[in-house]
């Protein structure tokens, strides 16, 4: 067995230190070692987007990153989107029936969070392209696009204090 490495990072603003095998993915690290199970695994080869988290503010596939690589980084997960209650993006998803089983939802939310940071007023087509790397098998996407439009409007009106980043 390969030598284990100490990994120190912050997750949703909290310091975390664990000893891990180099091969452990960041996704498994978050789910098993940090016990934040909101980050989901749908494919483990970078296609489905369910495991999307923020790494130093940028969206990444946590299944395609080893935990050792995140040493020293800031990681944001769905659990950190809002301190209590729901983030405006989460509220918009609720209002617009933009989730069904909820399995893709955490990755979807992190992707939307990134999109709206960079592009506060996206068109429906831009939203659809931005979500193209997040598979939702339940909704057919229409309601998610509605929710992102609504969240964008809400965030333009009243940006929240950022928790995850």
């Amino acid at each position: 067995m390969a030598e284990r490495h100490v990994v120190r990072l912050t997750v949703n603003g909290e310091s975390v230190e664990r000893l891990v095998e180099p091969r452990k993915t960041l996704a498994d690290f978050l789910r098993q070692d940090v016990e934040l199970t909101g980050t989901h695994l749908g494919c483990e080869h970078g296609v489905c987007g369910a495991c999307t988290v923020l790494l130093d503010g940028d969206p990444v596939r946590s299944c395609l990153l080893f935990a050792v690589q995140a040493d020293g980084a800031r990681v944001g997960t769905v659990e950190g989107l809002a301190h209590d209650g729901l983030h405006p993006i989460q509220e918009a998803f609720h209002d617009h029936f933009a989730l069904q089983c909820g399995y893709c939802t955490p990755g979807m939310l992190m992707t939307v969070h990134d999109l709206l940071q960079r592009s506060p007023s996206p068109t429906r087509e831009e939203i659809r392209k931005a979500l193209a790397g997040n598979i939702c098998r339940c909704t057919g996407y229409h309601a998610i696009v509605d929710a992102v439009e609504a969240a964008a409007a809400r965030l333009r009106a009243a940006p929240p204090r950022e928790a995850a980043r």
Binding site: G38, H40, A82, L86, F93, G102, L109, I144
Partner: protein, 794 residues
């Protein structure tokens, strides 16, 4: 409603989902989120061959690896359990072999589990799998369904004598005479590729066995916990009361999670042998290789049509290859049967002869996925109608108007024998044309053609078989025909409901909370619905066949009526009124016409639970009731129409959907937003079927589509907005008049899209009869089109 005296308030409104908060916050509880003390992780050594004899298995190196706690071989697994067989006895003559958890003498599809390993974590378990040595002697693979039937083809199960699992069919009306008097006879072969479900949460299971109690607890991503309890009992040799099956949050299912999978059984055997909890989570490679597949069909069809477009008669011959075994316990013959039985759709076709061949082959097992058979049947019928319309120079709308069953013909019995009691076939079509702007799009299409743009308009009119009552039980399968609800008014006056129907994202808890809230005159927030745990909920059938809303609502209504009756009798005593004069409304229980004489449910709860000694002896101190419900008819038929407009880039073969409009009639809607979302999600799966999704095996039975890079599910960028309109024709035979809705979108999309693409390509003399419709398929058809220059440009 007579039971409660209250006006419906929550039902019919787009009440927001009660399920969302946790899921949005990352606090869902899926099986893989569960961690138990001393839990170990399973992984499987799987067959790399489609068909091979297993010569030798050596596990010693795997067992020696630190962290490995058990290695289970096929022989041992076979000794520890009872094998199973996926037969439904009402399909007379069907045959299939016994199935074991791990491949004994032969492997029969790529991915079949051969050895199971349990280790400290999944990483080590996979390391151990790499150390297991299996010697195979490869055998010729049977891949093509037509070839599978030919004499001399290698046998997948020698003891069965041939590869045919089932032959069926029927001959109704005067088919030969209909063909004899036809103005035209159209013949086509439709080829439908294999698909699979791709629930985003893979199949997942944690099994924990307590040897001293002899009890097994299984947390499993499942639609059918009670069915799993029954089949685990049979296979593992444990009594049902010692098995608890829990389906916690389930990350999508679509028919994936209603079957007995051999790896699930093997994981339970590991847990029983070890006396330690075992977790097994399918990874995506395992999902593609071993989840049930569906659809693969060849359908030869002949339609006899009169000069005015009336379809006089049909003949169909369907062949489907379903993998090495008929799947347990639902079998693998239902999709094929539904293809032939549903083929006539909502059309008045009296004369119909059909034949079905279900054959074994060296591919993964096929069984029921969302809309079982409907999409194929509908696509074939809709395509034949468009072909006839074009040939007879009728508008596609007109030929449908002439053949659709009219309201005044109800109840209508189809050629096969299905009975449509209620429906809105023509009305749905007219509404779809109006909302979709059919006439305007025809103008736009004509303008486009002048400008070199190739638009196509496609329609499909379909029926959806929903809420099957006895469907599998009659064939001997342990699958509940009824469903159940326990409704309890808690001491504080709020309501707990335990429902036999399960929830995989449909919003079932929200819908049932709406029903119960109205029945008991409380608010939706005051109702907590739970499901998915055999130790908690009364016996139920879970979800499948668009049954959840109808059966769950029926059971909930009945349970609420019984609870309301108890409330009225107790309130009548306390308020000195006749129970019949007591009504439940707005959280109050009051005497009709005397609102000042009222109590809250909390008042009554306190009396019943804490002061029951002061109640008369003839009043049962209970505010709880359990009810079970089976619809009065075996099937409740929903219906709908899809209209789609596509643009085909004839140079690249890419299809862009410009407009998607649906009309759905599922009777009165419990929650129109939930209905719309069921439709949209199902439509996108139907679009996936038609344009993207294809499980591909090569000629040797090797699986080529092993990842989400190769098996294409629809993405947000290519999917259209989907407009959903409703008609509400109640069923006369279900409580509340409800009909199912979950599969309609998937049923209707393929026909509409195929017709739209063919409409766009019509000027080139091209007509496709195959799915998925890939850019390559379109280009290749255009290349071979007779009337064109080589590059397909006009």
């Amino acid at each position: 409603m007579a039971t409660s005296g209250t006006r419906p308030r929550a039902v019919g409104r787009p009440v927001k989902r009660v399920e969302d908060g946790r899921l949005l916050a990352g606090q869902g509880r899926f099986v893989d989120d569960l961690h138990l003390p001393r839990m170990v992780h399973a992984a499987f050594v799987r067959s790399p061959h489609a068909h091979a004899r297993v010569r030798h298995v050596s596990v010693s190196r795997a067992l020696a690896l630190p962290g490995v706690v058990a290695v289970l071989t096929a022989d041992e697994a076979a000794r520890l359990c009872h094998p199973w067989r996926g037969i439904l006895t009402d399909y007379v003559g069907m045959k299939t072999a016994l199935q074991y958890p791990l491949a004994l003498d032969k492997v029969r599809y790529v991915g079949e589990p051969v050895v199971a390993v349990a280790a400290a974590d999944r990483y080590v378990a996979e390391d151990a799998c790499d150390l297991v040595e299996v010697e195979y002697e490869t055998l010729p693979a049977v891949v093509d369904p037509e070839a599978a039937m030919r004499p001399g083809t290698p046998l997948i199960h020698e003891e069965l004598g041939d590869n045919v699992i089932y032959r069926g069919g029927f001959d109704k009306g005067e088919v030969d005479q209909a063909f004899a008097r036809a103005h035209r006879v159209y013949r086509d072969r439709f080829v439908v590729g294999r698909q699979t479900c791709v629930a985003l949460e893979p199949r997942s299971l944690v099994a924990a066995y307590e040897p001293r109690e002899g009890s097994l607890s299984v947390w499993i991503s499942s639609q059918v916990p009670h069915m799993m309890q029954a089949i685990f009992a049979r296979i593992l040799g444990l009594p049902e009361q010692k098995i608890r099956v829990v389906a916690p949050d389930v990350g999508g299912s679509f028919g994936l999670k209603i079957h007995c999978y051999s790896d699930d059984v093997a994981a339970c055997l590991l847990a029983m042998r070890l006396g330690r909890p075992v977790k097994w989570i399918a990874d995506r490679l395992e999902s593609f290789a071993t989840d049930i597949h569906c659809r693969e069909h060849l359908v030869d069809v002949e339609a006899a049509v009169s000069a005015d477009g009336t379809v006089l008669g049909l003949r169909s011959r369907a062949i489907t290859g379903v993998g090495p075994w008929s799947c347990y316990p639902r079998s693998s013959v239902v999709e094929g049967n539904q293809v032939i039985r549903l083929l006539t759709g909502p059309y008045r076709i009296r004369n119909y002869k059909a034949e079905l061949n279900v054959v074994a082959q060296n591919k993964a097992l096929m069984s029921q996925y969302r809309a079982v058979g409907h999409p194929i049947a509908s696509m074939v019928m809709e395509s034949m109608l468009d072909r006839a319309a074009r040939d007879l120079q009728l508008d596609p709308v007109e030929i449908r108007r002439r053949n659709l069953v009219r309201r005044d013909e109800l109840p209508y019995t189809t050629a096969f024998g299905y009975v449509f009691e209620s429906g809105s076939y023509l009305e749905s079509l007219e509404l779809a044309l109006d909302k979709g702007g059919y006439a305007r799009w025809r103008e736009e299409q004509a303008r486009g053609r002048r400008e070199g743009r190739h638009l196509g308009i496609g329609l499909s009119c379909f029926i959806e078989l929903t809420a099957p009552g006895s469907f599998y039980g009659s064939g001997g399968a342990p699958i509940s025909a009824q469903d159940s609800a326990t409704v309890r008014v808690e001491p504080g006056g709020t309501v707990t409901a335990l429902i036999g129907v399960t929830n995989q994202g449909q919003g079932a808890h929200t819908a049932f909370a709406q029903i119960i809230a109205d029945q008991l005159g409380v608010s939706v927030e005051d109702v907590n619905v739970m499901s998915g745990d055999t130790a908690l909920v009364p016996y139920g059938g879970g979800t499948s066949g668009s049954r959840g809303a109808v059966l769950g609502a029926g059971a909930s209504i009945l349970a609420c009526r019984a609870v309301a009756e108890k409330v009225r009798r107790i309130a009548g005593h306390l308020l000195e009124a006749a129970p019949d004069d007591v009504e439940l409304r707005d959280g109050k229980v009051s005497v009709r016409g005397a609102p000042d004489r009222s109590l809250t449910l909390a008042d009554i709860g306190f009396r019943v639970y804490y002061q029951s000694d002061k109640l008369p002896r003839d009043l049962e101190p209970s505010l709880e009731a359990t009810a079970h419900y089976t619809p009065a008819r075996p099937i409740t038929w929903a219906n709908g129409v899809h209209m789609v407009v596509v643009e085909v880039d004839v140079e690249t073969g890419l299809v862009k959907i410009l407009r998607y409009v649906t009309v759905e009639d599922c009777g009165p809607m419990i929650n129109p937003a939930l209905v719309a979302e069921q439709v949209r999600g199902a439509v996108v799966q139907g679009i996936g079927s038609t344009l993207y999704e294809h499980v591909v095996y090569d000629a040797e039975g090797q699986l080529l589509t092993r990842t989400l890079m190769d098996y294409l599910v629809p993405g947000a960028a290519e999917m259209p907005d989907i407009e959903v309109h409703h008609l509400e024709t109640p069923s006369p035979f279900t409580l509340g008049g409800f009909k199912g809705i979950a599969e309609a979108g998937t049923a209707g999309a393929p026909g509409a899209i195929l017709n739209a693409v063919n409409d766009a390509l019509a000027p080139f003399g091209v007509r496709l009869t195959r799915q998925p419709i890939t850019p390559d398929l379109i280009r290749s058809a255009l290349r071979q089109a007779p009337a064109l220059n080589r590059d397909g440009r006009r």
